[in-house]
Symmetry: C2
Subunit: 439 residues, 2 copies
């Protein structure tokens, strides 16, 4: 059968990996897809660099938009990144009746609604498995594998850089800044690591999963993002004493009032499988009402893992191209006419458990005042830990760690403000969220 | 849009769960599938029992074959089990142009080739996500999520009963027979547990995954099956001392000579995520050449988890029904004309690492003889452990545990025969396989 002709835009790490795997496994892929999938033409701004990656066998140009209009190209693969050229490229490809595969989480999380609407009008598919959790086929699991379920929540370790840093902080008892420097040296963190360590990257991925899980439009602007740069080694240690690990966790949960959508360093019971996902690996835990909890684990980045997802999308499109557009798998799992208008809740309305650490003068009555304030806000205590804050100096100050039961964030914040005002309390209270992730 | 009409054959645990979930989540499922999915008619031999499960809203008959011929039914769901009526039902449904969804691992593993060939001729789909690992969408991952990859191996904990028993044996240091009795009391094991504990159930599931991973026909008759009933508590303890867990592991691996296909109690390094899958949970680890290792974890049985997979198949069929038959996802992941004829290797040709436990008189020269025999067979030793076999009696006998590097099974068996013939060796040698499962 006639090969499917692909136009590859962006020949960096993932673009190079995609070309390599398509070539290496061409026979196997054709046996699965029913026809060969070949790169007809590729585009890269720096032709010389792209030539070094691709070799001489693939036609190469410097204008990606020309690929979106190329008469031979049936599927455009967008691996440029960002939201300027990439967005124009994707919309142009759609206008020209071409299917699109992209690994661009930012583009989908911020402009997905517009892109999917245009694709729907033109009857083409936009596939983005590689945008979330690299090589793990979690978009497919959510969109096709769990269709029987009312999804209750999704929780994911979906940023490898942050997970590597947190794993090293725990294993070595090291400070954030030191581990970040090491991660940069090893190539696990960018020179400017903001996007990874402040939760933006995880937020993009979580936004996409939230839309697919609950049948809502993508709404990245409403996501709450808190990174790991302020996390202290002391809290990792105390969490461990209490039987928890701290992970940069993306959590999106359906409640009657709306959807929680948040990324933050979060305590997880160490006995959960997902608490043991270490280093640069990713994992996503999904709770459905019928199936219970299922977990998807694997490499969240890298040339060939990401290429694995890009090519899976190419095979899907090849297989689905003959289905009538009304019956293909919908972009956001639910039919576009059937998206819900559940609001994304502000962080103040989030309901979860909390870890609080305060520094208090070791004097009678302080703990009584603290627990009274919590009780007045309707917050009940699950566990408490008290340790001298500095064993060497014995300055009469204690670290007090409190784990709460379920509470609403605004009540917790109100309690924190009152506790910080007590004369025996020193400085600010550390607040982290805690998820039990019960299956 | 007009609902898809389903005929439900078999109203036991899974059948009841399927009806329940279809009804409870009907709105959500229709939003995903583009049209409602309804049970038009159900069949069960015992009408009274089925009526108690389904209530009065669904038409109920006692003849499943009538459903396979029913003019209104578009998809037949086979949840009867076994390979007599179930096989006739599935083939009759196909003859009558109906799509089929089944949870029947035995039927697919033993008669899949015949069933898929008939379905191909008639242009209908046969879907069987529920046949492997209950609610975990691992068939979908293998068949659609990892299509870019040359799959190297698949390893799975795919029998919940056995995993529960092994977990209890480890946690309580208890003997197999005692834990089995407890599992039977808790309803985790059948009155006749042979099918679960001797590896038949896991073998069926592994056979199906092997076919999909490597593009070969299903060949259950060539699978090597070894159960857990002879496993001794001592070996679980020694394995733990050496940093391993013992799991009933299904392993299928592609080698140049052919395919390994085997179920047996197997040591896994405890630091692997899959080694920490405990109780009745299931997990499948897949190694692809591009993505590396990805893991899929969740409940492997139960009414609603299995229903979750049955219904996902119903949604898939609804979505794919309009695609031309040549372009649908192939039953065994690869196009039927493109299946490979790689042979399944006999167990004697398997290459893996081994755990050997022997009981030896604690005298000079015994260990030297043992290691010389191993060396003569080309088997190198990775680790060794020596412990008094009975600390109380101090009878001058030691348990010697040997972990080998990679070796071919027939060489190991030859070495074992020679070692057992040594005068200082007492009784038979315990042999278990060991998988490092490197990502």
């Amino acid at each position: 059968m006639k090969p499917i002709q692909v136009g590859l835009c962006g020949v960096g790490t993932v673009g190079g990996g995609t070309a390599t795997v398509l070539k290496r496994n061409c026979e196997e892929i054709a046996r699965r897809a029913g026809r060969p999938i070949v790169v007809r033409i590729a585009a890269n701004r720096n032709l010389e660099r792209a030539r070094a990656v691709l070799g001489d066998s693939i036609e190469l140009i410097d204008d990606a938009l020309a690929i979106a209009r190329h008469p031979d190209v049936e599927i455009v693969v967008e691996l440029i990144g960002g939201t300027t050229i990439a967005k124009e490229l994707v919309l142009t490809a759609i206008e020209n009746g071409k299917h699109v595969v992209t690994a661009n989480k930012k583009l989908i999380a911020e402009y997905g609604n517009e892109i999917f609407a245009r694709a729907q009008e033109k009857g083409v598919m936009v596939a983005f498995e590689a945008a979330v959790a690299g090589g793990i086929p979690v978009i497919k699991a959510l969109r096709e594998g769990l269709t029987a379920n009312r999804i209750e929540w999704v929780a994911g370790i979906i940023n490898g850089t942050s997970n590597f840093i947190l794993t090293e902080m725990r294993d070595k008892g090291a400070a954030f800044a030191d581990v970040l420097a090491e991660a940069q040296r090893l190539g696990y963190a960018e020179a400017d690591p903001t996007f990874d360590i402040e939760g933006h990257d995880a937020g993009h991925k979580l936004t996409i999963m939230s839309a697919i899980a609950f049948g809502i439009p993508v709404q990245f602007d409403k996501a709450y993002l808190e990174g790991i740069s302020k996390l202290q080694a002391a809290d990792i240690k105390y969490a461990q004493e209490l039987g928890y690990r701290i992970k940069l966790l993306g959590v999106t949960r359906r409640r009657a009032e709306g959807i929680e959508l948040r990324v933050a360093p979060t305590l997880i019971p160490e006995k959960r499988l997902i608490a043991n996902v270490d280093g640069v690996m990713n994992a996503v835990l999904v709770k459905g009402d019928a199936v219970g909890a299922t977990l998807y684990y694997g490499p969240g980045a890298g040339a060939e893992p990401t290429a694995s997802s890009v090519i899976a999308d190419l095979v899907d499109i090849t297989r689905l191209a003959t289905a009538d557009p009304e019956h293909r798998v919908p972009h956001l799992a639910f039919q576009p006419s059937a998206l819900a208008d559940l609001p994304i809740l502000p962080i103040s309305e989030v309901e979860t458990c909390y870890y609080l650490r305060l520094n208090a003068l070791d004097q009678t009555g302080v703990l009584a005042s603290v627990t009274r304030i919590l009780a007045d806000q309707g917050i009940s205590v699950d566990a408490m830990l008290q340790r001298p804050s500095d064993e060497a100096s014995d300055d009469g100050r204690d670290d007090v760690v409190i784990i709460t039961h379920l509470a609403v964030e605004k009540r917790v914040d109100a309690a924190i403000a009152q506790i910080e005002a007590l004369p025996a309390i020193n400085g600010k209270i550390v607040k982290l969220r805690l998820e039990h992730l019960n299956g």
